[in-house]
């Protein structure tokens, strides 16, 4: 069983549970909020721009992660890594890529991006990169050496860090998927909240 696929499935289920709980606590309808956000973003005067943001950022991020996620197993961030792509990697890449793209589109439509939302999306995007960038590269040894660790200490510490990131890579990818899905929900709330207290978005709106 692909551990990344298990982590992604767990992250999606956890995100759905968290969103349902949040919707229940705040007396929102999950389906109603999602439908309203969809209509405002992709069926309003801003539909063209929103779609362009979704497709551009979503495709770019997805393409990047399709290479970056298996790079840890391949040993280099290059197209050769694609031969080690798993179904779990592909699902994670699509969810993170298009999830981030959709979040940007929703936030752009709402024209206000709260710091927490931006941080969460950014955190998700970064978390997915941690294993492939911090394991089996010279990043951690160089940092330790730069901080003055002696060679034996580097020898011992570097494996602890890199081994940790390598061992728990699927968990980091799961956390990234979770963070991006929650960001999408926060952007939905942001957008529908904006719409409920403001005039409808049109091209003429300031």
């Amino acid at each position: 069983m692909d551990p990344t696929l298990v982590a992604v499935a767990a992250a999606v289920l956890a995100a759905i549970a968290a969103i349902i709980v949040d919707a229940a606590i705040s007396h929102r309808s999950f389906a109603g909020s999602a439908a309203a956000a969809w209509d405002t973003t992709f069926r309003s005067a801003y539909a063209g721009r929103s779609l362009a943001i979704l497709v551009t950022f979503g495709s770019a991020f997805t393409a990047f992660y399709l290479v970056a996620l298996p790079a840890e197993r391949f040993g280099a961030l290059s197209f050769g890594a694609l031969q080690f792509l798993t179904i779990g990697d592909a699902c994670a890449a699509a969810l993170i890529g298009y999830g981030a793209g959709a979040t940007f589109a929703l936030n752009a439509t709402a024209r206000r991006s709260k710091a927490t939302q931006a941080t969460l999306t950014f955190g998700g995007v970064v978390a997915a990169l941690l294993p492939s960038s911090l394991c089996c590269t010279s990043v951690i040894p160089s940092l330790l050496a730069a901080l003055g660790a002696s060679a034996p200490a580097v020898l011992h510490l570097t494996g602890r860090f890199q081994g940790f990131f390598a061992t728990y890579a699927p968990a980091f990818i799961g956390i990234a998927v979770f963070a991006v899905l929650i960001s999408l929900w926060l952007a939905t709330i942001n957008l529908t909240g904006y719409c409920s207290t403001n005039p409808p978005l049109t091209e003429e709106s300031p």
Binding site: G75, A151, L155
Partner: protein, 177 residues
């Protein structure tokens, strides 16, 4: 004023730590491309030793890895795919686990050897473990998955990381180009 003094002190401390780190690295850096490979006795996981005399006159890949490293296990599988031609070209592979697996637990080297099938037991493929001193000398920055290409005269002619991702370099080396 106090803040500025603290900033200057922090910058100086960081700069000195950089210098110390660099000197710590430099002190143990003993494998240099273009120079002879260090003469070492390597210990294999089946209890044998490989002496410098046994390596003399052979081209070999000295590969330092950790068993928890995903690209290392992938690299082993890629080496296995090319083992027939490596053997035909009399190229030796010395796959050496860094001392203490670089401080993090992982599967045993023997289990990785077994997982890749019969090619893992090819007579030109040696699986072993480095001592702490050998690890410090061959891999001072403790990056798993690095390798050195050593020619018949015992000179290190190239070094790189992740053999699986840079197979073209090893292919050229094995062909004697």
């Amino acid at each position: 004023m106090k803040f500025r003094a603290l900033t200057v002190a922090a910058a100086l401390a960081f700069a000195s730590s950089l210098a110390l780190g660099a000197s710590a690295q430099a002190a143990t850096q003993s494998v240099i491309v273009g120079k002879p490979a260090p003469a070492m006795q390597f210990r294999t996981i089946d209890g044998k030793t490989i002496s410098p005399a046994a390596l003399r006159g052979h081209r070999y890949v000295l590969w330092i890895m950790a068993t928890w490293c995903p690209s290392c296990t992938t690299g082993a599988a890629i080496v296995a795919q090319h083992m027939v031609e490596l053997r035909a070209r009399h190229v030796l592979i010395l796959q050496m686990e860094a001392a203490g697996n670089l401080g993090y637990p992982g599967p045993s080297l023997a289990s990785i050897q077994n997982s890749i099938g019969p090619a893992g037991r090819s007579p030109n493929w040696y699986w072993g473990e480095l001592t702490q001193a050998q690890s410090l000398m061959l891999d001072p920055s403790s990056t798993p998955d690095i390798y050195y290409l050593v020619n018949k005269r015992g000179t290190v002619i190239e070094q790189g990381s992740a053999p699986g991702a840079h197979w073209d370099q090893i292919e050229r080396f094995s062909e004697g180009r």
